[in-house]
């Protein structure tokens, strides 16, 4: 097989509050022989808030980010569900609306860029499942996670709106019964935990303006995993991770019981199964300590 190559859009969180996510992405890519070329020119995607303030500006900035994947002739790979949503949504809107695309390109021309629509956009989770292949990952596992019950937490923006996100998936994900992350847990030798909150919202986006709502949603997710005997949780989204990992005290207070639980990034889980060291995966950067190794 030809070596897989992607233009990596890291997003902001991986560069700031979840450094372990970027470390583990590179560690896993190296194990799998995937080449990631970082889009160092990329700006913030606006995290689904900038468009509330200025929708057009959000489109222009996201289109600019995609331009740099296009100029490298690569598929853009994201490692944050919200980056995935905002970027894929921009592509979707520009590709179906030539007038809007022209307006955006008029601005991009000022800096010598043009959005063409030639690059696909996919989350790293789907890149390794669809393009690399679950079977091949399973074959490469050297430390099967067989002693762990692992609760997948999908994160809204990878699975909804399904019509948009399934444009980039080989196998359509059912937002009411997603399976990709469960399949990945099984490929890593782990036991996948089924629970009601696995495809629900963590509350991240209203943490500042509606902290009670946010904490209850986070608490519900952690409780669901806990009540179904999970040893730890795994998520493809660094924003969900921030909520579940760093905000467990607020969540515990909101739902009236201790819901502290280790939460891994999906890259860290794969990395553990492939034999990466805890240091390579940045496991020391978690607030809810990783106490099971």
């Amino acid at each position: 097989m030809e070596k897989l190559q992607y233009a990596l859009f890291t997003g902001c969180t991986a560069k700031e509050s979840t450094p372990e996510q970027l470390m583990s992405t590179y560690a896993v890519a190296e194990k799998l022989g995937i080449e990631l070329v970082e889009l160092s020119e990329a700006s913030c995607c606006g995290a689904s808030h900038l468009q509330d303030y200025d929708d057009f500006l959000s489109l222009v900035l996201n289109a600019r980010n995609i331009c740099y994947a296009e100029s490298r002739g690569m598929t853009m790979v994201t490692i944050c569900n919200t980056c995935q949503l905002n970027t894929a949504m921009t592509k979707h809107r520009l590709d179906k609306d030539p007038a809007l695309k022209a307006r955006v390109n008029e601005k991009l021309a000022e800096v010598g860029l043009e959005y063409k629509g030639t690059s696909e956009i996919t989350h790293f989770l789907y890149a390794i499942i669809d393009d690399f292949g679950l079977d091949k990952i399973a074959e490469m596992v050297v430390k099967p996670l067989s002693q762990f019950n692992i609760a997948p937490f999908y994160g809204c923006h990878n699975i909804r709106p399904s019509e948009l996100q399934n444009e980039s998936h080989k196998k359509a994900e059912n937002p009411y019964n997603p399976t990709s992350l469960d399949d990945l847990i099984i490929a890593c030798g782990g036991v996948n935990v089924d629970y009601e909150e696995k495809n629900k919202c963590c509350g991240f986006h209203v943490e500042l303006q509606a902290p009670k709502t946010a904490s209850i949603l986070t608490g519900n997710a952690l409780m669901g995993a806990m009540d179904n005997n999970a040893d730890w949780m795994v998520t493809p989204c660094p924003l969900c991770h921030l909520k579940l990992d760093t905000q467990y005290e607020h969540a515990s207070h909101a739902v009236g019981r201790d819901v502290k639980m280790p939460v891994l990034h999906m890259q860290q889980m794969v990395g553990l199964a492939l034999g990466c060291t805890p240091d390579e995966l940045g496991l020391q950067h978690h607030v809810a300590e990783i106490d099971f190794l």
């Binding site: 902001c12 700031e16 009411y176």
Partner: protein, 327 residues
């Protein structure tokens, strides 16, 4: 025309049963039946009542996906029972299906729910044309096709309540108006004949009740059987708020604006600065305990180490030339 052969398969249904007058708690009744490939979910509800239990209750009326009465949930997915084909349900979830009301919290009897909260919130956004009209107008009020396109199909809403009861915030926060009410507010705000936009913008901007408490989970967009896409309308209401200079200076609005400031300065988002800008110098103090924990784990980037995007000049130039609003 080629005819597809009708196939049959055995499906087990777990049916939510509850009578608020006699039952302390709901329970599930298991019914197994042969389902043909041309049936819709409503056919199953009919057959449960006609063939298995005459006391089973559900709402139905038009059978054409326009009255919104037969909304139920199948394995957690909100559907209009008359529109959703059993074949598709089996394809998505297999041959063991759970049928629930749209909100078990609001169940009166089986699938029948009390939608009072939905209608109260619908009414709260003034869902009608507000306009000074002459008592004896001499001509009609014209709306061009282009002007009606600006409604973005928000007028297709049939008030089935599926988005309202799929919304996780509705479940938690009784004050929250919810996606259906917001889509309706947009529907009239976007109508060229309407003059009530100022009032509605005021209503949908209330902290706790309004658009700023939306968690952006896209459950409403996913579930809507008429493709109204309520969250798109919520974004439009946010945009109207800023475009009309009606944004209240508070943590929620600053949170949205803060992204533009940060991108202009660094290209990337300065997470710490966003929290400080949104909360203000005093409000930010409540985040200090968590920030210290994060700092100890190497999760906080100090301002002087803030990474910047390459080609930042390009980003600054685009922010300047492409901005459409000011705050």
């Amino acid at each position: 025309m080629s005819m597809q052969a009708i196939t049959t398969q055995q499906v087990t249904f777990n049916v939510f049963r509850f009578n608020s007058e006699t039952d302390y708690l709901p329970y599930y009744k298991q019914i197994t039946m042969e389902v043909t490939s041309e049936e819709v979910v409503l056919d199953i509800l009919d057959r449960i009542k006609w063939e298995h239990d005459g006391s089973f209750s559900y709402r139905r009326s038009c059978r054409h996906g326009i009255c919104g009465a037969c909304a139920v949930k199948v394995n957690g997915k909100g559907v209009l029972a008359c529109k959703e084909r059993m074949n598709d349900m089996i394809g998505l979830f297999g041959t063991e299906l759970t049928i629930d009301p749209v909100s078990s919290k609001h169940a009166i009897k089986d699938m029948v729910v009390d939608k009072k909260d939905f209608w109260d919130k619908h009414e709260a956004v003034e869902p009608y044309l507000i306009s000074e009209i002459e008592e004896h107008p001499e001509m009609e009020c014209y709306v061009t096709p282009m002007e009606s396109e600006a409604l973005l199909e928000s007028d297709l809403c049939i008030q089935c309540g599926l988005c309202h009861y799929a919304c996780p915030v509705i479940e938690i926060n009784d004050a929250f108006l919810g996606p259906a009410a917001f889509a309706k507010a947009f529907r009239f705000n976007a109508d060229v004949r309407d003059e009530g936009i100022d009032e509605r913008i005021g209503i949908v901007n209330q902290p706790g009740a309004g658009i700023w408490d939306c968690v952006k989970c896209f459950e409403c967009a996913e579930v809507c059987p008429k493709e109204v896409n309520p969250i798109e309308k919520i974004t439009k209401l946010h945009n109207q708020t800023f475009e009309r200079n009606d944004a209240i200076d508070n943590v929620a609005t600053r949170h949205a604006v803060g992204f533009a400031h940060s991108i202009k300065k660094h290209g990337l988002l300065d997470e710490g600065e966003l929290v400080r800008y949104s909360e203000g110098n005093i409000g930010v103090l409540k985040h200090v305990p968590v920030a210290i924990k994060m700092w100890k784990k190497g999760k906080i980037v100090m301002p002087w180490n803030m990474p910047k995007s390459d080609k930042l000049d390009e980003i600054k130039r685009l922010v300047k030339s492409s901005s459409t609003v000011k705050f």
